[in-house]
Amino acid sequence: MNHTDQQERAEGTMLTGEQMIEMYKWMVTVRHFDRRAVNLQRSGRIGTYAALEGQEAAQVGCGYALEKQDWLFPTYREHGVSMVHGVPMTTVFLYWNGRPEGCMAPEGVNVFPISVPIATQLPHAVGAAWASKLKGENSIAVGFVGDGGTSEGDFHEAMNFAGVMKLPVIIFCQNNGYAISVPLSKQTATETLAEKAAAYGVEGIRVDGQDAVAVHDAVKYAADKARRGEGPTFIEAVTYRYGSHTTADDHTRYRDVNEAEMWRTERDPIDRLKARILELGIWSEEQDQALWEEADKVVQKSIEEMQAMPPVDHNRIFDYSYAELPWHLKEQREEMRSLYGNGGAK
């Protein structure tokens, strides 16, 4: 129990070379998506966007270790892991375009709508895992949180429930060192976040979040353990976001630019995995260039899909408030239609 060091535990990896390549492809796609999203925001075609650049290994490594039936409870930054788990890229774009369709994972893809209020979805992950356990299903749940989110009461209550009930859940924390402008040192008096797990009788693992393989292996270990009925795991993936918290702030106000530069040049997760697969002789620079071009096409196609969407259907404000609309909502919907039309409703 408690605060094992991932590097010590696993020599090598559970992954095949092919799998590493697949992860690598995801990471490149996610990075490309992310950069395009930032640009779309700059040109006013989507709203405020939370970039993840720098955190691709943490997200893809995590998503790649999960099974189709598993449940995800993401924050606003989990585009990477959500896409790996089956949320279409266009859905993600739609979310940041303020479209309600952006909250809908496809049928069969168990990804909960993004939770904006920090840490509040962690108890949901715990509850979903609890339900899986009660139903005797083979699915586990993963709740996402940032370093800042560990200060919230909901983090505590979720971790404690998970520990007491020994549930098949992973609380996956991307420690990128900052909660908007607040550095970790003002967030907690502990050195690491993984050590907090002990307070709940939960195993805590700290992993290099820039190493996709290490992240994958940690999550796979935790997932297998959860599926065996051996309870929850807290994983701290140490990472960094290269840019600002979202497109609405300016990280140079509160971070040393050299720090970001250091991470980008010395600890880039894509460079790192690329070096590994090149070294293994299973990847080439030609393939790499083709991959970036392919990613560009994929993202471009998705953007076009987003832009080709009909105008938002105004009725969506009402139609899912309740299973059946009560009288006052029916009347308000009528009034809305008479004033503003139906938007893009068919």
Binding site: C103, M104, T120, A125, G127, K135, G153, Y320, A323, P326
Partner: protein, 326 residues
């Protein structure tokens, strides 16, 4: 048919739900071995096992939040909050999540769950045990709020709530948990959510109440008859959200006068919404301003003052008199 008090009717309703639907799970602080601080879950853990009737850690946000995850993943959780006044730590979970799962996911996920909470003052309990913040949840779209005033409705509304595809806040009038018994069918039945009940017909003035205040209102109605010869119509709202417009408006259209009674502070309480609804729909029927008899706009006091704080028949009668003598 068996005679049951409200608490027995609730236990019976929970038993039926646990028996008929394997998705139902009862959870909360002390609901298991102890059977709840009011004995609402008495015997249920022994009957259905500790997987289905679960003692949780002391953490309201955790209880409601875990219930959200369970509901989304196919269960029908029935979490208990030990007292309605302890719902505050769970407000975030309820208003940001429970009420919004269906909307946020555009129907992809739903959150059918019933949050039970003993409600209202009057049992000489310490602070916050007697708070009545129902207006908070009536204001929040996406969650329904019900409150029975008698054993029959208690079981019927509870089963309707557990069957409901929408989340429901189920408020239990603790002051009258054991106050009286009624005939309650032993089989499954439901009382429709969204329907008020005219418990006493009358022609001079409409009195709207729910939960504990219903019987106090009936008492005031009796006094109004005895002292003034006024014939008071008493409406038990039963469902606080969504309101039963038809019944509420129908009554005041008939009587032309109305008073709303609740324990919560008057300002921005549910009474204000009912006044506003009458304003919207029946202003021209009104022969006097609609009266509001609420708790005072001061925090619920310690119990030596709670009898003076909550409306009693005398104060309700006073409210009726003001409207009748307008």
């Amino acid at each position: 048919m068996a005679k049951m008090n409200i608490i027995q009717a609730i236990t019976d309703g929970l038993r039926v739900a646990l028996r008929d639907d394997p998705r139902v799970i009862v959870l909360g602080e002390d609901v298991g071995v102890n059977g709840g601080v009011f004995r609402a879950t008495e015997g249920l853990q022994a009957e259905f096992g500790s997987d289905r009737v679960v003692d949780t850690p002391l953490a309201e946000a955790g209880i409601i939040g875990a219930s959200v995850g369970m509901a989304v993943n196919g269960m029908r959780p029935v979490p208990e909050l030990q007292f309605f006044g302890f719902i505050y730590p769970a407000v975030e979970q309820i208003v940001a999540h429970v009420a919004r799962v269906r909307m946020r996911s555009q129907g992809r996920f739903t959150c059918p769950m019933v949050i039970r909470a003993p409600y209202g003052g009057g049992i000489r309990a310490p602070e916050l045990h007697g708070d009545s913040p129902e207006a908070m949840f009536v204001h929040q779209p996406g969650i329904k709020v019900v409150c029975p005033s008698n054993p029959y409705d208690a079981k019927g509304l509870l089963l309707a709530a557990i069957d409901s595809p929408d989340p429901v806040l189920f408020l239990e009038p603790m002051r009258i948990y054991r106050a009286f018994r009624d005939e309650v069918p032993e089989e499954r039945y439901t009382v429709e959510i969204g329907k008020a009940n005219v418990v006493k017909e009358g022609t001079d003035i409409s009195l709207y109440a729910w939960g504990t205040m219903l019987r106090v209102s009936l008492e005031a109605a009796k006094m109004a008859k005895e002292q003034h010869g006024w014939d008071v119509e008493v409406v038990d709202l039963r469902t606080l959200s969504p309101l039963d417009r038809e019944t509420i408006i129908g009554s005041v259209q008939k009587t032309g006068r109305a008073v709303v009674v609740h324990e919560a502070p008057k300002t921005a309480g549910l009474g204000a919404e009912i006044v506003a609804l009458i304003n919207d729909e029946a202003l021209l029927s009104l022969e006097a301003p609609v009266g509001r008899v609420g708790g005072y706009d001061a925090p619920q006091p310690l119990f030596s003052l709670e009898d003076i704080y909550a409306p009693d028949a005398k104060r309700i009668l006073h409210g009726i008199e003001k409207v009748m003598n307008f």
